[in-house]
Symmetry: C2
Subunit: 359 residues, 2 copies
Amino acid sequence: MASLLEGQARPIRLADIAKAAGVSHGTASNVFSRPEIVRAEVRERVKAVAEQMGYAGPDPKGRLLRAGKVNAIGVGTTEPLSYFFEDPFARVMMAGISEACDATGAGIALVSAANQEKLAWNIQSALVDGFVLFCIEGGSRLVELTRERRLPFVALELGFHDETISAIGVDNIAGGRLAARHLAELGHRRFAVLSLTLGEDRTGFVTPEMVRSAVYTGTRDRLAGYFEELSSFGIDTTRIPIFETENEEKSTRAGLEAIFAGGKPPSAILAMSDRMAMIAIDWLTTRGLKVPQDVSVVGFDGVPDGALCDPPLTTIAQPITEIGRRAARMILDHDGAVRRETMGVELIVRASTGPAPKA
Amino acid sequence: MASLLEGQARPIRLADIAKAAGVSHGTASNVFSRPEIVRAEVRERVKAVAEQMGYAGPDPKGRLLRAGKVNAIGVGTTEPLSYFFEDPFARVMMAGISEACDATGAGIALVSAANQEKLAWNIQSALVDGFVLFCIEGGSRLVELTRERRLPFVALELGFHDETISAIGVDNIAGGRLAARHLAELGHRRFAVLSLTLGEDRTGFVTPEMVRSAVYTGTRDRLAGYFEELSSFGIDTTRIPIFETENEEKSTRAGLEAIFAGGKPPSAILAMSDRMAMIAIDWLTTRGLKVPQDVSVVGFDGVPDGALCDPPLTTIAQPITEIGRRAARMILDHDGAVRRETMGVELIVRASTGPAPKA
DNA sequence: AGCGAAATTTGAATCGATCCAACAAAAATG
DNA sequence: CATTTTTGTTGGATCGATTCAAATTTCGCT
């Protein structure tokens, strides 16, 4: 009975091996972590004992406490974990992060949570040396929680903005201008905007005051870019409908319904993400409208799927992989400084945009 | 302000807080882990001191050692980390794993390594409660390394086979038969096989002896399925060329070159993965051969991309997401038993297969 | 054999928490 | 007021390793 219990009891520790082999913990430890400094004879004896007793090797839990470094970075989001594998933008970003981690041999821990309480707990208990945060919805809460850990972290500014933390983002104003200019030059004069969220959870048409008081400056800046450029073409931007969505099917389709319910439909749609742009193309096509003959669509992000959809998407490409790489490196070779980087964007013209229809 | 000092000083420990607040470390610990059992007055005082001293909250490193459980599962592979985000099969699998982890609030740690040494180290030092292993190339080494950790683990049998460990796989023989029967019924009589690897790293044509001595029984079983079925149609399977690839562009294209270099080209290709099948379709198309008019192609896996490529891919679908879910659950509610599950597969007919050309 | 240098080994201290039996104080009960 | 109960607090033990100064052994050489 007792032996049975003992058998189940608990894993063998390094100390057990040391005792059984008749050496000190120190030596036993060295056998595994720095074998070259132990006399061959002793080393073999300890190893034999370990093997025989079924020792699983030094437990990383113990080592960790002593060593202090985990050698892994956490990637956090408020979306469910599957977001990392399903969302095209996240995937490209993760590929960049992976690259940097592979290069230094670091691991990646994915942190997310179904609800707020678990989110807090998961952030608080993540075994990582630092975080890369996908600041989408609920970004500020995620940042707050992470800040409390007092570990290095970088925010990927997908619409969230806070000067006091490290972050990598893109030049949203320039991106907005690029997209707008492209369409204006094609002769378009009637526009609609599918916008990312400006503040707390809500969807629907946006008023100018809401734009001014936007929490998410990324969204605000893209809008500003669109409008500055369109104004320079003499277009009255106050009449352009802006529909705020949650960057998914439902609210985007609702937005399109709303936009096209009005009197004069737009000839060009400025979408703040490729995802929305692709949903828009699908919606328009099934509605019998031709892209780009009837309506032009320009996206934002530059995800690979955009090149494959039908018609291929004109978009403002971010250097997503590079952003991921840099974010990971910021954590991996962290030096205590707050760094803010703004990356350039690029207009990629494909087939979803064309000359404005003559009306 | 204080950030400069904070940068230098070593992090504040729970014991520091306890001392500063004039309570025992036991009480201080309770303030954070079971606040309800501490008198409100004391609790607030300790919290205030913690706040003021800039305490980051209980360090998970310390907690971990005591608690023993990490609440995360490791997902291991010998491919680079980006494999998880780029390979379509892996992505769907990870989505399933994510789902199960999300449901229980567990985290995911991605484990991989550029080289063998680092692989060993990364497996040995991964802070996880168990592993799910993608046993692709080098699967047996991965399994060996993981076995030494003496933690629960499940192998996803992508070609690797070992009766002594827990694993989830699919019925490869049935899958092979389904694919072969479909083509045979369409009248095809000349076949070629794009095979996954049978043993150590190599590519090229395969001989019957090599098949018999295959290390990766998953590959062997698919082949067996193909051949059993074709034999039952009276087809001489000994003349079917089998080209072993590494499931990527280069070796797959090389295989196609080799196969079509011979005298009578096949009218049907049996590919052991959707990836190879899609590469084959691309290769055939750019070579001026029509799919399926000239050559039919059937894949294996059932990844979503297969439905989107041109022409959409006929394939043997595995319940990939479900496999992922089950694998994760096996680790999450591990009971010490060795479990082996074999999932069914399903023929999905799309447009990449058609009647054999009249020749 | 004797001596110093080099190679090994030792064992206590440490990493940062949680747990729990024992104790103390406050509240409820007779 | 004495006695239970209830509630809150304490401090030592523990989780499983690594580290390092000091002690010991081994070795080379005269």
